[in-house]
Amino acid sequence: MADPSETAAADPAEESAHALRASLSVMDREELVELGVQLLQTYVVEGLGPVGRGGELPAPNSARAVDSVGEETFAGLLRRLKAERRGDPILEKFIVNGEHIQVRTPMGNVDVTEYRRPTAPAPAPVGGGAPRQSVPTPSDSIYNRSLYPQADRGAAQERSRGASEPQPAAAPSRAAPAAPRPAAPPSEPARPGPGPASPAPQKDAKDEPAQDKRFRLIELD
């Protein structure tokens, strides 16, 4: 036979009941009565759930909704009132977005509660590990192929070999830029063919540093 004390120790419910008994036994009779009243009134008569679920909205017609002071958040209160009194001109001025509340004023929307920016950076999109189109690499830029003689050489070799071979053999140089294409703006990859000699990109490259500096300053402002 198992020892009852061991069983009590093993059962978490029994253990917590034991701890509760120990903490309640030190209380005065009056204190116990007061606590009992508070607990029964709150959880039995009014039927509230645990405080963690206090922010949940009760059904608009339920008895709880009439008397929910202290139970719901400020935003929850506004949401409930807005749901109950649709078209109320004053309530219409409140914009409730989650726990963030704004008020419409003639000067624009004014924050009542401070908006909290998400602290963690936005998650990278699927396949975000691939370099951006604007960063030229041999794998993703067809315009800068001349900058990467190895890649060109390889392509030339493949092209010389490729007359007899099936088409997919020459694909690696083209298949690579195809992957990031959906993420890039449509205007960039739309230019067909290898056009590294076209003057426009070179001119852009010359002007870029000055423009970059200027825009950086504007962004800083």
């Binding site: 917590s16 701890a19 509760l20 120990a22 903490s23 209380m27 204190e31 007061e34 606590l35 508070q38 607990l39 009134q41 709150t42 959880y43 009014e46 509230l48 645990p50 405080v51 963690g52 206090g54 008397d67 929910s68 002071v69 202290g70 139970e71 719901e72 958040t73 400020f74 726990e99 963030h100 509660t113 401070e114 909290r116």
Partner: protein, 229 residues
């Protein structure tokens, strides 16, 4: 009745006549230091009023709303409150010892050094309210939550819950640095993500509550007379 700026004397006349405020609305009324022990404040809205240092001990407050009102060092000891909402008020140094409050919401207020010793709070919510060094000694808190969406958790550092009975309370994410829970009964409370550096849980009895591993729950040393003064 409605009272606005410069109608303090009218408001006080009404207060004396009715024994409090009933169904009234007071806006921009200065009643600093008024004496209203045992008065009744029912279904009344006080907006941008000054009730600093007012003595409302033993008052009965029902369905009242305080908005942007100065309640600094107000005395509400032994008061009974039900369905009271406090928005953007100053409650610093207020004495609410022994208050029995049910359905209380305090939002966006300042309540530093507030005294709630021996208070009985049931279904209360403190939102965006600074409760630094607040005292809840021997208080009974049932279904009370402390939250602050701006800070991520309620500022409750150096607050005292010594000998308090905390049932179904939420301290989620609260700043409880240096808070004192000595000898407190803690039942079904939520301390998730709370900052508990230097918090004193000696002699506390947590039941159905998860405290960080290694929390010292050993009984505190007996108080010495020298430590009292």
């Amino acid at each position: 009745m409605e009272f606005t700026r410069n109608q303090e004397s009218l408001a006080l006349s009404r207060f004396r006549e009715v024994g409090g405020f009933r169904g009234d609305r007071l806006t921009d009324v200065a009643l600093r230091g008024m004496h209203g022990t045992g008065c009744r404040v029912d279904e009344t809205v006080l907006e941008r009023c000054d009730l600093a240092e007012a003595d409302l001990s033993g008052a009965g407050v029902t369905a009242a709303t305080f908005v942007s009102t100065n309640l600094r060092a107000v005395r509400l000891g032994g008061a009974r409150a039900s369905r009271v909402e406090v928005y953007y008020c100053e409650l610093n140094e207020a004495d609410l010892s022994g208050i029995a409050a049910r359905r209380l919401r305090v939002h966006g207020s300042q309540a530093m050094n507030v005294k709630l010793d021996g208070a009985r709070l049931t279904v209360a919510r403190f939102e965006e309210t600074a409760l630094i060094r607040a005292s809840f000694r021997a208080a009974t808190l049932v279904h009370v939550s402390f939250s602050d969406t701006r800070m991520g958790g309620a500022p409750l550092d150096r607050a005292t819950f010594e000998g308090a009975r905390l049932v179904d309370c939420s301290f989620r994410g609260a700043n409880l640095r240096g808070a004192v829970f000595r000898g407190a009964m803690i039942v079904g409370c939520d301390f998730d993500d709370a900052l508990l550096e230097g918090a004193d849980f000696r002699g506390a009895m947590p039941v159905g509550t998860t405290l960080p591993p290694g929390t010292d729950l050993s009984p505190p040393p007996p108080p010495s007379m020298a430590g009292e003064f």
